[in-house]
């Protein structure tokens, strides 16, 4: 199987390089970049050393058409422009950007502040929240990989929302993210001395992942109202924690709640549910494709708290992309993703 990565000079791209070079069914993995063609990837990322296939190529539809699958780990707009031609030529596309995540182009334009991709291809795109969309993913030619925050949030909310256990207008998500989620482009907001020993909130009520989360929640339960969703920058490189609050419609038993989650994810190798009273920390999934979830119910307030953690570059980006790629190719979804988290 030959694959190409577009945008290998970013963090998600580098993570794809790591995963696909260790993938048992990938025999060739080449890298493309719109800006740095001709350069060896190690000039940008010395950690890769002299691995094969790492000279960056210029984006070219003919060249890209020869691969079985193409991964886009690119800024907004790139896959929206290039993916359709590849799809037309029968190349499977896995898009890690947000270009094809929102089915309604108008909503995209409102939240992203830029033109949406073509409606025709938005309609073809399959949303790759693996655990809840496997059948469609298996048949996808254009796979839209979920955002990092939506992945942690949606996996944490799915059983509650689908089983209609919570008030539909009561969902509040307080998310915390490591800095790698902001990408590799340097700026004052990610300058070490500004981020270290600091917590910052950003894009309050305005994060582009809000409509992505609501779109999926409303697919599961059309009564879900707009959510409150906040994002905080944490002085660490990797990891997302979504702390999710919602009002239960009826008093709940924590044991039953944990059982519901265990049942919901019993065939999902990458979702691990903690025992009552135990909660995951972000480092416990570091470098892995796991999403770990802990649950609480407070009788004083009648609220459920869900704690959902992922590695934003893995289950939140490259890891889930490979998981989806596996399904698209007919393989076991865990191929190339078996590694335990790296701890400490």
């Amino acid at each position: 199987m030959d694959v190409a990565i577009i945008g290998a000079t970013g963090y998600s791209g580098a993570e794809l390089v790591r995963l696909l070079h260790g993938h048992p069914h990938v025999s060739r993995c080449d890298v493309f970049s719109s800006s740095q063609d001709g350069m060896h990837l190690s000039e940008s990322f010395p950690h890769v050393g002299d691995i094969g296939g790492a000279v960056l190529h210029k984006l070219d539809i003919e060249a890209l058409s020869r691969y079985d699958a193409v991964f886009f780990a690119t800024p907004p707009g790139v896959s929206g422009e290039w993916a359709p031609a590849l799809v037309d030529r029968g190349v499977k596309v896995v898009d890690l950007s947000g270009d094809f995540r929102l089915q309604d182009g108008a909503v995209y334009e409102q939240w992203y502040g830029r033109p949406a991709a073509s409606a025709e291809y938005l309609a073809k795109a399959v949303y790759g929240l693996t655990e809840w969309n496997r059948e469609a993913i298996r048949g996808a030619v254009l796979l839209s990989n979920p955002g990092c925050y939506p992945t942690a949030t949606l996996l944490g909310l799915a059983p509650l929302v689908k089983e209609r256990l919570i008030e539909e207008d009561s969902i509040i998500v307080d998310a915390k993210s490591g800095v790698s989620g902001a990408g590799r482009k340097a700026g004052l907001g990610t300058h070490f001395s500004e981020v270290n020993e600091n917590v910052k909130i950003y894009k309050v009520n305005a994060h582009q992942h809000i409509p992505e989360i609501e779109q999926m929640l409303q697919t599961w339960n059309e009564a879900v109202a707009p959510i409150t969703f906040s994002t905080h920058l944490i002085p660490m490189t990797r990891g997302i924690m979504a702390t999710i609050y919602a009002k239960a419609k009826q008093p709940l038993s924590l044991g039953d709640l944990v059982d519901l989650y265990k049942t919901s994810y019993k065939d999902s190798p990458f979702v691990r549910i903690r025992k009552p009273g135990q909660f995951p920390a972000t480092k416990e999934v570091y470098g892995s494709n796991y999403c770990d979830i802990g649950l609480a119910y407070d009788e004083r307030t009648g609220r459920v708290t869900v704690v959902s953690v992922i590695d934003n570059l893995m289950k939140g980006a490259a890891g889930q992309a490979v998981q989806n790629f596996n399904l698209m190719m007919g393989w076991d979804e865990a191929e190339g993703l078996h590694s335990l988290p790296m701890y400490p």
Copy 2:
């Protein structure tokens, strides 16, 4: 003015040493420790060097009675045991521990899991949330300094709750704290390799600061229902951010909301309100006694978001203690606390 610090070998104690040694009205500042008497403080904290008055003394009521004021920066139970005798002898006591924060001893015993202090002295204790209790503080002999989380949370919620702008059963506080809040006692939970590059939630629905917050909120508005309050450990040393969510009773204007806060705190030198669209980061109050607050209102959800940040060892402990001490002594509340935050 002669003062004593009990518990100078902890972090809040060390911060008191720093502040009181630079205080213009303190001529003598001695240190006491139940466990390490005879030792010079620099053996435990080399950063203090050979400052005067830093040989640790054993706790002794006679000796302590000679000071004008005594600060307790001690574990649970110490001030509950020792403060009454000092108060009886006319010594002003500033207690940074939780022993006198909850007026109802039964509530203390439920949340702290240990015996409460004597009801007689609980009744005498004045709760030192400076900005909202100045008159009582000026006359206090036994001052109970607020917890770090309650300080950030209550300053952030006060105008909303007092003006009855939010649904009383809708308050959710998602708090993030640096590790120094856990004190200096080493344990696996604060071991560097376990905390670094990690976010952890802890004491879910069980933090002892919950009743302290609710007690004050219900003083302001008896209709306030139990709150949801979560605490997260962040890989940094100092700083607390409380991200507070509540449902507005009526649609709000953000401009009006910011004006309300500015008016509420116009005579409070240590509370700074950000302009609409701007939010504080914890580092922006680092090492200072400020509490910075930012506000948002989301028309989609009808919810207010309040972001309140403090340095947990300053406004959340030693700084507010000195602020209260200043009032108790009849001085300007900002004496010895003028320093700007240290940035970066």
Copy 3:
């Protein structure tokens, strides 16, 4: 192949679990602990989840004798006591502790301050600095895995010392290490608030890795004099950088020096030499078994600077242990270790 890990509740042990569970030739990997038998490893390390073979067993020679190989990731003294009986029963032992690293028991007792292992087994032990001792390692039954600092230092110095290019009495090593090297036992010295935003020097002129380094250097060149070796604790979890200084006997060409290193390590898949003018950072080997080396020669001073970096838990502990295990079993030394570094 069935293997056992003794000391799986420490950091090197956890890293062995990660590597051996992903090793293509290991069918069974069980864990042992002297203190926590009966417990599932996930109670101590939630990141491992419900992997198989993770119930901790009590140390027992009969039980351990049934494995093809046993790894010790234990505090001083454990392998010295238990390994001989296993070796006598034909079990291959890989010891990550320092018990068998110093051939002379008297030197061990001087630097470690405790009794040495039996001289008979010290003589049987093979020092596992893989790149320079492959033949002996292939035949080893008792493999003594090098310390983390010695690995980085010796790989960095080997070509210079063996080719006698530097003054033998001029070697100074300034080493910087992440905190995981101190293990998982909590103490004030590794308490987050004490280590974060801090650099500390420790065990000045007294680190037990000094004689280990000198022993190997003097094997290569008996004229090597005592070295100066300093260790610094850096506010990060993983990674070691050894910055090595030595006086050249003759003016050197940097190009020739780099070529010498490239030639020396041309058959060593885990040593990567940087181009002239480029130097490795610790993060560029994070989570991998690589040792990356950069070189400089200063005409003003006539000194060589060698910069050698490893991940202390990988090439400095578990990774090199697996590399040696591979050779002992007759496999390719890179089996189970192919993963690229995790970046960022």
Copy 4:
């Protein structure tokens, strides 16, 4: 006393703002910026809040001439261009940049790669290593404040070099610095995700502080040969540790060595010498103007190790600048600098 700060939007400038706003003899402190005039400093640095005198003014000789003293905390070239005109008008200048540190313009041009300031004013500039140059500083009109690395290194080496206790060709300095030393300009090299959990060496044998250090050492002892000096970027914001190695000419007694240092600095309030066997950590001077020094002598190698730590923005920049300013104005050198380090 009225003072102006040019370059207040950088980190050293912000630290000057903090110090000078708390200085007992400064009644007015205004800020200037070549690029951001008209803006309030809080737009760039929200931590300062609404302090007075914080609207940024455009650089203008007439306006600047009205101040008693002007501080330059500017990039290379600015003070070289502007300071002479101020000096000519009798304004005292404290320059935190490197423009006037090297007496020989040719050496400046070689190491900085840009034109040197005028020779006439280079000759007028007084090098502000306070502890060793007080008399000249008291009479200075153009004060050149030392670099951060030279301050830590020179204070650590002075007694050894002046007393000629070490071989003059044996000095090796391995320095570690927090990231704030690189300033506030964002770039990939200071991007959080690249620096966090990482140690990097930079400017190997090429740092512009090398000639500054050698110039002073050779003033003390003309026999001092070129030194080896390496700089490492540490994942923390503030702090420098210089670990200094040198060969003793004769065997030394550690006790005598410590006594020599204590005597050398007995009238220097900001240099603190540790007892034999104790070494300072960078955090022990955090936010303060101290330089803490620890010493070791190794009989095995005949080498001295000096460990010298400072806060790079305080004693390494703004703190020492104020200390020098105090002397230039005839005040006690510690005015406005009494604060203890902030710990933790």
